[in-house]
Amino acid sequence: MIEDYGARIPDSQGRLRFVLRASQAIREDPLNGRPNVFGSWGRRLVALHALCRASLVARGSLGIGPDGISLFALWLWRTPSTGWKLALGSACLLVMLTQVMGLGSRAGQEKPSGGGQPAEKLLAKPEEKLDVWLVETLGQAELYSNGLRVSNEWLTHTGPRSYAVYSRGPGAEVREIDRRDRPMGLVFHTTESELPTLERTNNQLIRYEGRKLVNYIRREQLYHFLIDRFGRVYRIVPETEYAYHAGYSLWAESGELYINLNQSFIGISFETRPAAIGPDVPVEEGVTPAQFSSARLLTEMLREKFGILESNCVTHEMISVNPNKMLIGYHMDWRGRFPFQKVGLPDNYQAVLASVAEWGFTYDSPFVDELGGQVWPGVRRSRSLCRREAALRQLSVKRYREQQGRRFLALVREVKKTTPALTWADHDTDRSARSFASANNNRAQHGPEQGGEIT
């Protein structure tokens, strides 16, 4: 009928206007030719379902029962053609809502049990009880109970995590003790990208440059999350997948050694200018309060979601190594100045670096210069421990480091065999970041070992 009337309108513009308005006015569903009475209700129910489900999943209390019933109910409601389907759909929804409310209240009283899933049983207990859950998903944005908003607008995919965890300790023989597919920690980065100054007249440039940066990071799959200068949090790669943020890296905690943190840690990057942080530049000048505020909320959410230990929340310079030269600090993102307390964490610069204490990595004078003439406390402690280990073995520090260096390279070769090559150094942040970030960030070549030598 619309076609018949439309054909009588001579003007093409008028005909298009008529056809569009007529087809919208009678609300005939072009998808199946039936009246689309339940279209809007269907969408509302889907939203309700998603909300309930997300909330329960976040609390670790969702059973298959209510989820399955709710889906069945929604299917009945979405495609009703007879009265019995409508009635049955309503009944199922009622059951689903009752169960959801019951589980929801229990979830509020009980500690998460891990849902009986083997992977969740492995979750390390966080030091303090965090309670952050997904409240709402609006389009491509997520809202969490602590106020965190995450945009999935720039989401891309790499591949699922799969990595080996090794035993730790200078005396112990390093061996693979587990294989995992969930993140164990967080690495804080900086983009050191070119940013226009924050001035009213630069609005357009600020928008363009911001988008160019996030587009670049997405294309290179550099981090899991980006926090821009306005505090907006973008999820670039899902937490369940690896990203190319860490390069050659190692970290150890609680008897476990992680090599290649692309696979085992989540990368969070702050949008900053080149050399935004350094001996002569206070952190507060390079990073905005909005970024720290968002980083705190994001850290809370991720720690709650994956049971991440406080001590596994580190900065890039703490984990980055150059295995060929046995030097730490190949990347110097925060230059030992990350204000852990601003993101709700203890000062992890006090932590021992396994790279130095157990594997004999050291540092050179450019490293010390980058830090403003003084290494952070954890490096000093690690150096002492390294000396002690050497003494226990009746070896000179130099000999001990050589021995450990050979062991580390052997371990790297083993990791390369079991980890997809692209997630190691072939697609390293080293290479990707250079084209966008300042050369200061990437000390591609450390000079000859001097100053700070462990003796």
Partner: protein
């Protein structure tokens, strides 16, 4: 508001077309979406100003864009650069944003009070959804900066608006452009399904140039000078073009089959629906015949009544966007 207060914009990988309402119907202005970098000299700049070639001076470098890019690239034996790639802003071109902004400013001009513009957007390429978001938002920003009230329209749907009025805007609109092939299945003017494939004109040029040892420019010029898919290949270049045209057409029909079998949103068409093709790549002789033959090999849940070439293949997308913008008046 007068009809003069609206514009349609076809922002394509290889060409940009602006459509306006004129005294004698629709009016179009076209520009090549490419630029070339040349050393700055006052004489060159003056010559460009005299000839009305859009350009931009940055220190010791001058960028000539649009049709001027082709002329200068031949003169200086340089390579033209593209602000867009595969239908979207080119992420590998550092001057992409500036050049796009420059050419939009030149072609669209500052908006009059309350002036509206509708620009075409491609379908989301597989795994590049956020690139489309970036493209769409950035172009929107640029046009808003010029003072327009901005809306966007799927390129395939724009072809439907422009060409299928006799079919109540029901059918399949396909734009075979330079960077992409955009498809929209529409029912009474509403999009039921849209998608895109990235094998289009540029793909044909690149591939044919690669196997025939020619430059892409030579291939493009040959293609545009009356090449025909008649099966009688005169030389290796014709042979290569035929092969890659076939590949593009096959890519489109196979994807069409996959998409309609996958979607649950397809309306029930009571009658056979037409396919209308537009864009520079659809201009080759025998293209419709080849496409019709390829469509017959694909299982579709509806019948195809005809495969027709758009009345004005190079301007139909711009016309469709202008119609959409006019609707909003």
């Amino acid at each position: 508001m007068s009809k003069k207060n609206v514009k349609g914009l076809d922002l394509g990988t290889s060409r940009i077309v602006v459509a306006r309402h004129g005294e004698k119907g629709y009016q179009y202005e076209q520009e090549l979406n490419a630029f070339v970098e040349i050393p700055y000299s006052r004489i060159t700049v003056k010559a460009m100003e005299q000839k009305g070639i859009p350009h931009r001076v940055e220190g010791a470098i001058c960028y000539a864009f649009g049709r001027g890019a082709d002329q200068f690239s031949n003169m200086i034996d340089g390579q033209t650069r593209r602000p867009m790639y595969s239908g979207l802003l080119n992420p590998n071109e550092p001057k992409s944003l500036e050049m796009t902004e420059e050419v939009l400013t030149k072609m669209c001009g500052k908006a009059q009070s309350g002036e509206k513009i509708c620009f075409s957007v491609p379908g989301a390429p597989p795994r590049r959804e956020s690139d489309l978001t970036f493209h769409q938002d950035t172009v929107k920003q640029m046009l808003e900066e010029l003072g327009y009230k901005v809306m966007s329209l799927n390129e395939g749907l724009a072809v439907v608006y422009a060409e299928l009025e006799d079919d109540s805007f029901t059918g399949i609109g396909v734009s075979f452009g330079g960077g992409m092939c955009n498809v929209c299945i529409a029912y009474l003017g509403m999009s039921a399904l849209s998608f895109c494939t990235v094998r289009a004109g540029d793909y044909i040029d690149r591939s044919a140039a690669s196997v025939s040892n020619e430059t892409t420019t030579t291939v493009r010029l040959h293609k545009e000078s009356g090449f025909s898919l008649n099966g009688l290949s005169q030389n290796s270049l014709d042979q290569a073009l035929s092969v890659y045209y076939g590949d593009m057409i096959r890519g489109f029909t196979e994807r069409l089959g996959q998409e309609v079998s996958r979607t649950k949103k397809l309306p029930k068409f009571d009658e056979a629906i037409p396919v209308v093709v537009s864009g520079g790549s659809a201009l080759a002789g025998g293209f419709q015949r080849e496409l019709k033959a390829a469509l017959k090999k694909v299982s579709l849940p509806f019948e195809i009544s005809e495969v027709k070439l758009a009345e004005d293949p190079l301007n139909s997308t711009a016309k469709g966007t202008l119609m959409a913008a006019t609707l909003e008046m």
